[in-house]
C-alpha cells in the first residue's frame, strides 16, 4: 500500500522539539474500570501523531481528554507549555484543539456551508453574512482541495463526502491541533488517499494532527510518531519509520494481571452439532458459515464494525436474514423476532447492559423474571412465592450482590452484568450468545461471568462469545473465528491459539505471519 508517495515535512528532524500538547501521568476511571492509567504522551508541533491499540486500549479516551470531553482523574496536561484544565470541549477549542468525531455529527437537513460554519458563523449586526461565509468557504475548499457544492443538504451526501464536510467543519475553527478518530473507517481507498493528501498539506502548514485508527498500514503511511496503548497503559512511543505492522501488533497484545480462566473440558469429537448456520448474509455479514457443537465455546474476534454484533443479532432474530439458513439441533429455524429465538432456546446477553440488557429503573427481581417469569405465573397472575424462590436461587448462583427488590441501576456494573446473564438461566438454553460479556466490570465479576459461561458449556449448551478482549477469547474458547468486514478472516483451534495471529487476522494482516 506504499505506492502513494507522501512528502514528509522536516519538522520532526529539528534539534529542539516543540511540544504542543503534553500529558503527564494522566489517569481516567469509569466506575471501577481504568480507561487510562498513568499515561504520558508528548505530541510535537507540526507532526502527525498516531494512537494505536486494541478496542478499549484507551485511544479514544486519550483523544477525549485532550479535546476537553473528559477531565482526567489524575495527572497533568500542558498545552504550549502551560498547564490546562479543560472542563468543556469549548475551552479546548479556544486553544485551537478541534476533534473530528468518529461518528458523523452533522445536521442532515441543512446545507454543507451551514454545517461547516455552525457555531462560528460570520455575522453583521446579528444577521448571517452570506457573502463573507461564502468567501471563507471557498478559501477552505482551496486550502484543502475539497470541492463540495455549498448548498447541498448534508443528508443527501454519501458517507465519504459527509466525512469531508466534518473535516471542513473542524478546519473552519482554525485548529492548531486536529484530532482525527477513525476517520477512514467508512471511506473507500480513493477517499482515504484524498484525506491523506489533506492531512499532509495541513501538517506542512504547521497544523498538528492526532490520528486514531485501527488500520495499521494507514498509520505507518501517514504518521511521524506513534504511541502504542494496551489496557489503558502506555506501551511505548516510537517513530513510525521504526515500526512494522507486526511490531505494532506485538505491542498491542498483552496479558492482564491476576486473571485466571476456569479449566475447560475438551469438546468431544462425538458431541452433536447444536448450531449450524450456512451462508448467512445481511447488510453487514457476507456469506458466513458458523457451527457450534454441544459444550463448545466459540469465540468471535474482530474489530468494532467487523460484523460481530450483527452476527449475534441475526442469530437472535433481531435483524432478518437476507439469505442463508440457521439450524438448531438439526431443525431449521425461521426467526422473525427475538421471541422466536427465545422459544427455540437461544439466549442473548447483549453488548450494552444499560441500553439493551436491563430495564434499569426496575428491580433485580423483575429483570430476572422478564424472560421466563410467565412460567412462575398462574392464569397471568404472578406466583410471588415461586418467583421469590427462583430469583433467590439465580442471585445465589451468580453471587449477585444486592437485594432482589432494589432497582438494577443501584447495583455495581459487575452485578448488573451478572443479572443480565442470570435472567437467561431461568430455564436451560441450547445456544447462549454473549456479546462482550465482561466489558467494563471488575476482575471479581469477570471471573464469575467466565465461570458461569464455562459451566453452561460444560452442561451441554453451545456458546457464542463475542469479545474484543483477546485473553478472554483464548482463555475461555474452544475455537476462535475472526471476522473482518463481515467475512471470515481467520479460524483458530485451542490447540494453536496464537494471540498475535488472531489480532493480526482482525487487522487484516496475513494470519500466517510468524513471531521470531
Amino acid at each position: 500500500m506504499s505506492q502513494m508517495t507522501t512528502e514528509r515535512s522536516p519538522s520532526s528532524n529539528g534539534a529542539a522539539t516543540d511540544v504542543i500538547v503534553e500529558l503527564a501521568s494522566v489517569s481516567k476511571h469509569f466506575g471501577g474500570v481504568h480507561a487510562l492509567e498513568e499515561v504520558s504522551v508528548r505530541v510535537e508541533r507540526g507532526t502527525v501523531h498516531a494512537l494505536v491499540g486494541e478496542n478499549g486500549a484507551g485511544k479514544s479516551t486519550l483523544g477525549n481528554i485532550i479535546s476537553g470531553v473528559y477531565a482526567p482523574d489524575a495527572g497533568k496536561m500542558l498545552v504550549n507549555g502551560a498547564e490546562v484544565r479543560y472542563r468543556t470541549p469549548r475551552e479546548a477549542a479556544r486553544d485551537g484543539i478541534v476533534p473530528v468525531a468518529q461518528e458523523i455529527k452533522l445536521v442532515p437537513q441543512r446545507s454543507v456551508i451551514e454545517n461547516v460554519f455552525l457555531g462560528v458563523e460570520s455575522s453583521k449586526a446579528g444577521f448571517y453574512d452570506r457573502r463573507e461565509l461564502r468567501r471563507r468557504y471557498e478559501e477552505l475548499c482551496r486550502q484543502t482541495g475539497i470541492a463540495m457544492p455549498a448548498g447541498t443538504a448534508v443528508g443527501e451526501l454519501g458517507i465519504g463526502a459527509q466525512q469531508q464536510v466534518e473535516l471542513l467543519r473542524a478546519l473552519a475553527r482554525e485548529p492548531k491541533l486536529l484530532i482525527l478518530d477513525e476517520p477512514t473507517a467508512a471511506l473507500t481507498r480513493k477517499e482515504v488517499e484524498s484525506l491523506f493528501q489533506i492531512v499532509n498539506r495541513l501538517r506542512d502548514e504547521g497544523t498538528t494532527i492526532i490520528y486514531v485508527s485501527h488500520f495499521l498500514d494507514e498509520i505507518l503511511e501517514i504518521s511521524d510518531n506513534i504511541t502504542v496503548l494496551r489496557d489503558g497503559r502506555l506501551v511505548r512511543h516510537s517513530k513510525a519509520a521504526e515500526e512494522t505492522p507486526a511490531s505494532l501488533i506485538e505491542g498491542m497484545v498483552g496479558r492482564e494481571l491476576g486473571l485466571a480462566f476456569p479449566a475447560r473440558k475438551p469438546v468431544e469429537a462425538s458431541a452433536p452439532v447444536v448450531l449450524s448456520a450456512r451462508g448467512l448474509a445481511s447488510q453487514k455479514i457476507k456469506d458466513l458459515d458458523v457451527e457450534i457443537r454441544a459444550g463448545e465455546i466459540l469465540g468471535v474476534a474482530g474489530l468494532m464494525g467487523a460484523g460481530r454484533t450483527s452476527l449475534a443479532r441475526l442469530l437472535f432474530g433481531v435483524t432478518p436474514l437476507k439469505s442463508g439458513t440457521i439450524e438448531l439441533d438439526g431443525r431449521e429455524l425461521k426467526l422473525r423476532s427475538p421471541r422466536d429465538a427465545i422459544k427455540n432456546g437461544i439466549a442473548l446477553v447483549p453488548e450494552s447492559r444499560k441500553e439493551q440488557g436491563l430495564v434499569m429503573p426496575r428491580s433485580v427481581r423483575e429483570n430476572l423474571a422478564l424472560v421466563h417469569g410467565a412460567e412462575a405465573a398462574h392464569g397471568g397472575f404472578i406466583d410471588a412465592g415461586a418467583e421469590k424462590e427462583k430469583v433467590a436461587g439465580l442471585m445465589d448462583r451468580l453471587d449477585v450482590r444486592g437485594r432482589a427488590g432494589d432497582a438494577v441501576w443501584k447495583l455495581s456494573g459487575g452485578n448488573q452484568q451478572k443479572v443480565a446473564l442470570a435472567k437467561w438461566l431461568w430455564t436451560s438454553t441450547r445456544l447462549l450468545i454473549v456479546d462482550e460479556p465482561a466489558r467494563g466490570i471488575d476482575i471479581g465479576a469477570k471471573q464469575a461471568m467466565y465461570r458461569l459461561i464455562a459451566t453452561l458449556a460444560d452442561e451441554g449448551s453451545a456458546v457464542l462469545m463475542i469479545s474484543s478482549d483477546i485473553e478472554e477469547l483464548t482463555g475461555l474458547s474452544d475455537r476462535v473465528i475472526v471476522l473482518r468486514q463481515g467475512a471470515l478472516s481467520g479460524e483458530f483451534d485451542s490447540a494453536n491459539f496464537e494471540e498475535q495471529a488472531i489480532v493480526a487476522a482482525s487487522f487484516g494482516e496475513s494470519p500466517t505471519y510468524s513471531k521470531e
Binding site: 433481531v318 427465545i342 441500553e355 436491563l358 429503573p361 397472575f381 404472578i382 450482590r401 441501576w409
Partner: protein, 328 residues
Amino acid sequence: MSTNTTEAGRVESQAVSRGVSLVPLLREYGIVFGGILLAIALTIASPQFLTGTNLSNLLDQWSPAAIMAAALTLVLIGGGFDLSAGSVFALAGVVAAKLAGDGAAVAILAGVLCGMLVGAINGMLVTVGRINTFIATLSTGFIVGGLALAITNGLLISVENPTFLKLGQETFLGLTWGVYLMVVVLVLSGLLLHRTVLGRRIFAVGGNPEAAKLSGVPVEAVRFFSFTLMGTVAGLAGVLQTSRVAFGEASAGGLNLLFNVFAIVIVGGTSMSGGEGAMWRTAVGIAILAMIGNAFVLLNLSAVYQQVFFGVIILAAVAIDAWGRVRT
C-alpha cells in the same frame, strides 16, 4: 470467591441501606404525608370538610376523572401518552345519551365499545403505523371530538331512561354506584399492573423497550393493549358522566378534564418518562386534587385561582421527584 467476601458484601450493603434514614422514605412516600397534612389542615380549617355528605359528593364528583386516571397510569408507565382521552370521554357520553332510549344496557355497551374502538385505532396508529404518540392521539382527539359535535349538533341530549340514570345517581350505603365503579377500576388496574405478567411487561416496555424486546416481550402488543384499555376506560367514564348529569354533550370533558387526569397521575408521582409508577400513587393523586378543589369551595376562595394552584402543585411534585432522582 470465598464465603468471607460474600458475607462482607452482604453486610456492607445492608449497613448502607440502614444508614440512610429519612430521605428515601420521604422520597417514596412523601406524597402520602402531603395528602395527610392537607386532610388535617382542611379538617381544622373547615368544619364541613369531614362530613359524610361532603366526602361522598367529592368522591362522586371526581369519579369519572379518577377512572380515566387509572388507565392513564398504565399508559404512562408503558412509555405512552394519550391526548385523545378527553374527546373519547365526550364521544362515549354522547353516544350513550343518544341510545339511552333503546335501553340502559345498549347505551352503556355502545359507549364503552366506542371508546374501545378509538383506543384500538390509537394503538394501531402508534404500533403498526409507527406514528408519534403525541401526533396520533392529538389527531384522533380532534376527529373524535368533532364526531361528538356532529352527533349532537352542539346541543345537549337529555336522558330520561331511569335505569340508565341509576348508574350515576342511585346511591348504595350513601355512595353513588359511580364511586363503587371507580374503586373497582382502580383495584382491577392495580392488580393488573402489579400482580400480573402483563403488568410487569408494561413496566419493562416503558422502562427500556429495547431490553424488553430482546427479552422476548411482544412490545407492540403491550403498547396496543395499553392504548385500547385507555380508550375503553375513557368510554366507561364518559358513560358514567352522562348518567350522573342526565345529559350528553360534546363539550363534556374537553381540555380541562384531560388536564385534571394527567395532573392526578403526575402529582401521584408516576413518571412521565415511563417504567416507574404505581396505582396507589394515582389513588393518592386523586385524593390530593379532590381536596384542593374542595378547599376552594369550602373556604370560599375564588375558583379562578384553583387552576393556578393545580399548576403549582404539579410543578412542586415533579420538582421533588427530580430532586429525588439525582443518581450518583
